[in-house]
Structures are given as structure tokens and as C-alpha cells.
Symmetry: C2
Subunit: 198 residues, 2 copies
């Protein structure tokens, strides 16, 4: 027990269950919430509940949204035959910020990780397979370059390849502005393997 | 806007007002709260409100507690004439964990910081002065060794010295187990100034 209050200790406990929040940060956050303005603490509590209650998954691409379909899936200006598969809504937003991609997305909400016990049935793969029954020109796999992302990419490849749908993977290599001397070996090897003739 | 949901963006905004939580962490936390178990999100929201509603300040030492007096102030086994002044309840807990200190505390809930616009009237100094009207054998200043902590310590010193109450400051120096080569200059200088004859 860190504080002389059961409710406070309970709050610290709940906060420390959040990802990336250790016991020390949880104590600091709890103290901030309790010692600061009451309105702010209440606003946070209410917005957690409100977001949790109102949130829905886009019926088509599975991203988080307010309505039936997300703005991308309901836009007539996008190419609905080009599907980029991403791990989570933040990755989708990252590509949306770039603003150059004209296709649509499919959000898996995770990546396959045998270590964490996350299998293909735990991510939104079934929903992707359903979409592929329609007319699709290309599937672009944009999962992360991590072990889990790569595992997921190769699993999807094996699954989709037999369907004859054109399949691609976003390029992996040295990031723009990256110092070669500071980049890990695997990335350097990837960059070499994926070299483009000039 | 990061997510296709107003409530979600609102939640991200509320989370990013917490200390040490940047926009990226706020997004990750919001996604975790919304995509995880509903019970967990609700438990967090409820415990914020519950802690905010039930928390009180100890009538004597001002620490956070459930009742009128905190367990330390209401204990008959403690020396109520020895008062250690700390910045916040976590510092009090740190000394309580050591378990050797037999006196009581006074929690300031902050430190004087002209930079942040926190003056002497914004911390619980008035309450300390009221306590000093009673019989007090010693006041130990245990504010942090930071700029704000030192400013507060010297302010309190000026305030209390004229009252004739014995005053002390916790020792500052090389931490036990600390490598001298890795310790900052000010600490090294402090350790030298505060050297103890053997």
C-alpha cells in the first residue's frame, strides 16, 4: 500500500494494468488525478465510458469508428478494390496522414504471436477473407516489420496466394534520413536484398 | 484526428493531459481501453471517480487518507513532536517503507517554483505554521534535492527559524551504492561540504 486510502490504492492498481504504465507512473498518475481539479478527473472517467460505449467497428474494414462504416469505406472517391492490411487503426491513420494512398484498408486489430498466444483466429482475418470473395485488384500487406508483423504477413500470404489475388508487401529498408551506421543488421540486409536497379 | 470517432479523439485528448503521457502514449492507452475488456475500462473509470470522491486530507499532516486523521497521525506510538516536512504523500510512503522514523509528517503537496508560478501560498505551509504553535521538538525538512525542493527548504527555514524551533535538513550526498564517476558535480560538492569526521 502506497497511500493511506483503499480507493486510492485501487486506482493505482487499475492504472498500472494499462500498457506501459509501471507502478511508479501509476502512483504519479493517481496522485495527479486525485490532487488536481475534480472536473478533469471526472472528464477522463466519463470519456473512457463514453468512448467504450459508443465505439463500433467499421462493418467493412474493422477500424474503430462512430457509425456503420468508417469515412474511408463510405467514400466514393476511394478505390475499393485495393485493400491495405494493417495491424491497428493507428497504422491506418499514419497512411491517411500521408494522404497519397487512394485504396481502402483492412484492420486486423493485432498480429499473430505464438509467444503471446495470439493465433490467426484472434485477429480480424476471417473478415478479410470474406471481403476477398468480392472483386479485389490488390492486397497490400502493411503489417509491421517486427517478428509478429512478419509472421502475420507470411500467414496471410499463404492464405491469399491460392485465391489468385495480386498480393504485395510494403518495402522494408533503410528509413529516409536514417544513418546507416546506426541501423540494425536485419534492416541493412533487407535493404540490400530489396535493392532497386538505377 | 487520429481515430474515426469523436469520442475516441476526446478520450485521447483527456489522456494526453495526464503528466508524462504524450500524444502517442495517449493514443495507445485509448486504443487499449477501447479494444480491451469492457469491464477493465469501466473499472478504471469508476475507480477514478470513487477515489476522487472519497479522498480527504488528513486534518493534521495533510496527507491523502480515507478518514479524518491518517494512520500515522492517529497512532499513539509515534512522536508527535517531531515533524518531517515532505513534498507529497509518495515521499512520506518512502520513509514509512524504511520503517525507522518514529515521528510524524507534514505533507506540503508541492514545492515552491517561481517558474511554474507555484508560490508559498499554493502549498500547505499555513497548516504547518498552525501546527508549530503547539509543542514541537524538531522540524526535519525532507523536500527533494531539486531546485524547487531547495527553494522550499530555504523558504521554510527563514519562516521557522525565528520561532526558535530546532530545524534540520536531511543529508545530501553520494547515494549508497552510487559510482562517484557517474555522479553530478553538485552532488559531489555537497558530499564534500557535508563530510563527516571519522
Amino acid at each position: 500500500m502506497e497511500y493511506f486510502s483503499k480507493d486510492m490504492d485501487r486506482l493505482v492498481q487499475e492504472l498500472s494494468r494499462l500498457p506501459g504504465i509501471g507502478p511508479k507512473s501509476a502512483q504519479r498518475l493517481a496522485y495527479f488525478l486525485i490532487n488536481g481539479e475534480k472536473e478533469q478527473a471526472y472528464a477522463l472517467a466519463d470519456s473512457i465510458k463514453k468512448a467504450r460505449d459508443s465505439i463500433r467497428y467499421c462493418k467493412c474494414c474493422c477500424t474503430l469508428t462512430d457509425g456503420e462504416l468508417c469515412p474511408v469505406c463510405s467514400s466514393a472517391e476511394r478505390n475499393h478494390k485495393q485493400i491495405m492490411v494493417v495491424e491497428n487503426p493507428r497504422d491506418m491513420s499514419a497512411y491517411e496522414r500521408v494522404g497519397k494512398y487512394q485504396g481502402v484498408y483492412h484492420v486486423l486489430h493485432g498480429a499473430i504471436s505464438p509467444l503471446l498466444g495470439i493465433g490467426p483466429e484472434d485477429i480480424r482475418l476471417k473478415e478479410l477473407m470474406v471481403r476477398l470473395q468480392g472483386e479485389v485488384e490488390e492486397v497490400i500487406i502493411a503489417t509491421n516489420s517486427s517478428l509478429e508483423g512478419e509472421t502475420t504477413a507470411s500467414y496471410i500470404t499463404k492464405l491469399i496466394k491460392p485465391l489468385g489475388v495480386p498480393l504485395s508487401r510494403i518495402a522494408s529498408g533503410v528509413p529516409v534520413g536514417g544513418d546507416i551506421e546506426n541501423i540494425d543488421e536485419i534492416t541493412l540486409l533487407r535493404a540490400l536484398d530489396g535493392r532497386v536497379s538505377l
